[in-house]
Subunit: 360 residues, 4 copies
């Protein structure tokens, strides 16, 4: 019957779920047997399947219908799937107090950028500062010294011995949080430096971009990770880390396994970014838009997570708040700037407005 | 009689066309026999002759009078002359979808800039990003490394082996579109590199500025062009490519011949920029103003065409949309900034507003 | 009884002062005997103890109740403690006159920045210019030349012989005021250069950041200071200069002693910044907010003091006006930018608005 | 009697002119015999003496009273003294036309900047572009290459053979106007290069700042100047060129002599900038404010004169329009930015608004 309806050319509206689509795993489902709806009106809560790109042809545009189920009852259900909204963040936010000083808000270290990719460090540094770290030091290769310092006067710089790539960092004891990866490249010396870093640091680290790609090429290193790290792969990086997935569902399951195995948080970036905690809980984000599909937005997110972690927030809250505000900043920006024109730097410029909207 | 009227000192108003002026080709017309109108009120449609600078003294300020001719009938006429308005673009624009990611929007390569002319690469890169390319790499000489990276943090850089000029580029297989020319200079090594580029690339390329001047000095190379390329000469560059023209009409005819011969699109820039397709169709633009007569505006246009082409739009649509939006951005800017003060960078800053106005 | 009230869990409101707390010195007080109020409503004037961080747990949020004491009588009391409000500054401000020229407003010299810390010089230079110095020269190491000149086109640069650190400055006779310290580092050659500077200059100098840390390591040098200098330590730098303090009260007393001993003004930075004059008077600031607890805000303050001193204002007025306006600029900024996102550069951008609000 | 009134402490109001003050030359006047008015209400027109700083103590704040004298009669009087208002400029401004292209608006050459003074070239270049030159090339020493190109992407750069100073320029034939001087320094090689320039160029040049100081040290070179050049000294530079003056009146007379002798236009900068033409006519400016007494505003003015001259305007109109708009831009800026905070870069940012106000 699905075939007839799908071929009819009529506008198709599904209630709760398109017939033939399962609410969670559709890996072994038969595509031709699923109704392709233009609109889906679902009961009470979005279903997990709605959040994967492979199901978009079946679900179309979806809306939630409140059918009056008891919210307390819902909240008491034991489920690994969570959908993050603004109210989930607010209680954990610490407002600044009168006698706080810059030491109160930590000192973030960002290891980023390489020859030809200095912008990653600039964008992440600005994002970390706008998110509230008290101090920020960017560890960068010498070729990017003037670029970084001209662009981010409020930040300090530690220059690598290698002129073009991250090759070593001496003293990391003064920092309250460290992120590594944006624009880093995968040179041999960078791989070594990353290995040394994870072996010599015992607190949570944030890994993004090429740091993840280096792990993908050296999968045994993941066992050296300090507990409660944050990894921020997009779909391609996730596949490199955990093997190719044929669906969003499969990718998410692999991410949960990895998260559990290495006791790390994974921020699996996409249209509905998922934050996966070491106990396999999954928190889906509700902000963001396709204008974010442009170079550098991942660097901004890494900077924002770093900004929260440096201030003493937990890795889980840091990831959640950063992901939510990052998407919200883009949502606010897109009211003025069309999706095509939105740049990563615009998102940085709207971080303050997003923080104000959520926490004030 | 024209002489008497022209010498009278009276205000002269022409209806449809000033007497003595032909609607299209006036190459062999006798200037003294043409009425010099202060205003021309023309029937139903602007005439081709209105769009050439050499006829401005005869036509003055022109307005179209709707005399009720049947629009369907007009549309069915077979003509190579078209006048582009907003409605011509809208149906072909692809709005972004939820699960689109930065890979969806391509990776543009810009080969631009040289010692003393780094701004061309900066302006074109910003324009390409604001127009929507997912990723952008600028291939530039080493002397401009810090300038480019400081100015465009969202873009990446590939550095040429030559410190001052474009001399070679190794791997071009990863890019979804390539533009070459702004601020390039005409050094020997640059000429060679351009030759190698066109011989090793099979998809449409965008050529501007010194890339065109190099073709003018090596006219046989045009036969190596991959099909459906885009060339963006202004009048002076067109004359260098196809020989000196004594009128806008003659220049347009030469451009149509070149376009047909080398199966390329030509964007002949001027007050009424003309987009000429390989089948000799001509689309005149209706946006723009004389504030754009300032250094760098051509670089911005090249970046915008590149931005569209990288996203997967056809060369023809890319050229049309970029030309229209480029002029519209300047028209929006000029409401605040007088023509004398308008800079190329202002046009970049209004690209988002132009896209919003046309496509939203 | 205090223990019972503090343990009660009730909302506690104190009148005038929480029972058990002394109005000034609580060094030898017994913490358990002091009421911990949520709110304190105090009579007529804030008490000194309110301004120290160690008393925050007892006082909570405080408000002043006007109980009608005679203001003239209050003003006649001889007290070293003053609370600065806008009206204290206005009478001493000199409005510009028609025939004033840039020479009228002095030439400021800023000695700041080092390898990896160029932003300190950029922020201080901008602040000095926005505060009104006629001319500004930044003396910086060569590594920061392009950063400084790109960021502050209105300023000039004097380049040190050392590529990375302040090591010497030749001619200082042309400057109307000098500030030294932001981002300077404590290299051997910098220490020597600072020593030479204070031995060869007879007018008031401004010392901040690493200049103070160098004094802390060379305490005998303080006796070489020209009279009426301005030192701007935060609590940590003050403790390095004068020994560790266990309370804000103790730190303030040590600062008053130092001030008196070396005939200098001390700007002791904190939530209530205190300006201490050589005659031990203390002026507490009433502007500012915890958004200022971020890297670079101290550099901005140093630049502002320099900007006033260069124009010919007294060291005391320069310090007072700069401290007040610096806090006010942040207070104005924070109406738009939440405390977490506020950067030092934002404060620079609000200096003009703060000056307008206070003096126009 | 003047002494009694001046000593009275009363508020003094003068009508037409303070008693004892001459309307023009007060060189030999006896200061004690002149009334010191707080306000002067003068008949019909400001008097020349009002425009000199030395008379400010006598005149106070002045206002013009229209007593109904015949304006035509006034206009017919033969006087070298003129007071420029907006209506004097408007008739000579050429609005842009549809088919104008960037070649129509000329190519300006700016020779400016040196090691430590790159901002002068940046500010002047931006000002020239905002004033309407079609193209701009800055000839600068190599040390400022990245600064200039990062800051002014719309401009091109020609790099001197000397890394730090102007030492030679090869081909100047392509430029429609040339300005030389801002931030140049007075090195030996710069002096030689300036000499070669004036000996090899036959059209009007613009000289500012150190170019004028070099002439002051080599006064015989003024005879090599091509006719109708523009010199833009402030009072100090004028005194170096023509000898120390003891009053504004004397300085103006010396400037008129110099102007006449070397057939050049002199822009004598001050509170009432005076444009002096080769036939000794003097045009006083009516715009501007003391916020302009800050480093770099002279560079902006030079850029603006260059911007007009490059477009084909006469030296006299270029000087008049630039001086008027420069002051007006500052007057518009100061509505938002207090005089103390106003920077040269702010004036650049208000050039467009000033042009719009005067010519649209």
């Amino acid at each position: 019957m699905a075939k007839h309806i799908n071929a009819s050319g009529a506008r198709v509206i599904s209630v709760d779920l398109p017939s033939g689509l399962f609410a969670e795993d559709n890996t072994k489902n038969i595509p031709e047997n699923i109704i392709k709806a233009d609109y889906t009106f679902t009961f009470q809560l979005p279903k997990l399947a709605f959040l994967f790109p492979e199901n978009e042809p079946y679900i179309g545009e979806w809306h939630v219908l409140d059918i009056g189920l008891d919210q307390d009852y819902i909240n008491r259900q034991d489920t690994p799937w969570h959908f993050m909204v603004q109210q989930d963040l607010k209680p954990f936010f610490k407002h600044r107090k009168k006698f706080d000083h810059k030491g109160t808000f930590g000192h973030a270290l960002l290891i980023a950028g390489s020859f030809g990719k200095s912008g990653a460090a600039v964008l992440a540094a600005k994002a970390a500062l706008r998110t509230g770290t008290g101090l920020l030091t960017a560890h960068i290769p010498g070729c990017n010294y003037e670029i970084q310092q001209s662009s981010v006067p409020e930040g300090m710089v530690s220059v690598d011995e290698d002129p073009s790539y991250f090759s070593a960092i001496r003293d990391i004891s003064n920092y309250s949080a460290i992120a590594v990866g944006p624009g880093l490249g995968k040179e041999k010396q960078t791989q070594n430096a990353l290995k040394v870093l994870i072996q010599n640091y015992s607190r949570p680290l944030i890994f993004d971009a090429d740091a993840l790609n280096i792990f993908a090429e050296n999968p045994t290193w993941l066992s050296f990770l300090p507990p409660n790290c944050i990894l921020t792969p997009h779909a391609g990086e996730m596949d490199r880390l955990a093997g190719k997935s044929s669906s969003g569902w499969e990718r998410l399951e692999k991410a949960r396994d990895l998260s559990f195995r290495f006791k790390c948080n994974i921020v699996l970036k996409g249209a509905h970014t998922a934050i996966i905690t070491p106990d396999k809980q999954v928190i889906f984000n509700s902000t963001g838009n396709p204008g974010m599909a442009t170079g550098g937005t991942g660097d901004v997110l890494t900077g924002m997570i770093l900004g929260f972690l440096a201030q003493g927030y937990s890795p889980m809250f840091s990831a959640m708040a950063a992901v939510y505000l990052h998407g919200l900043a883009a949502d606010l920006a897109i009211r003025r700037i069309p999706a095509e024109s939105l740049l990563a730097g615009d998102i940085v410029n709207f971080i303050d407005k997003a923080i104000r909207k959520v926490f004030y």
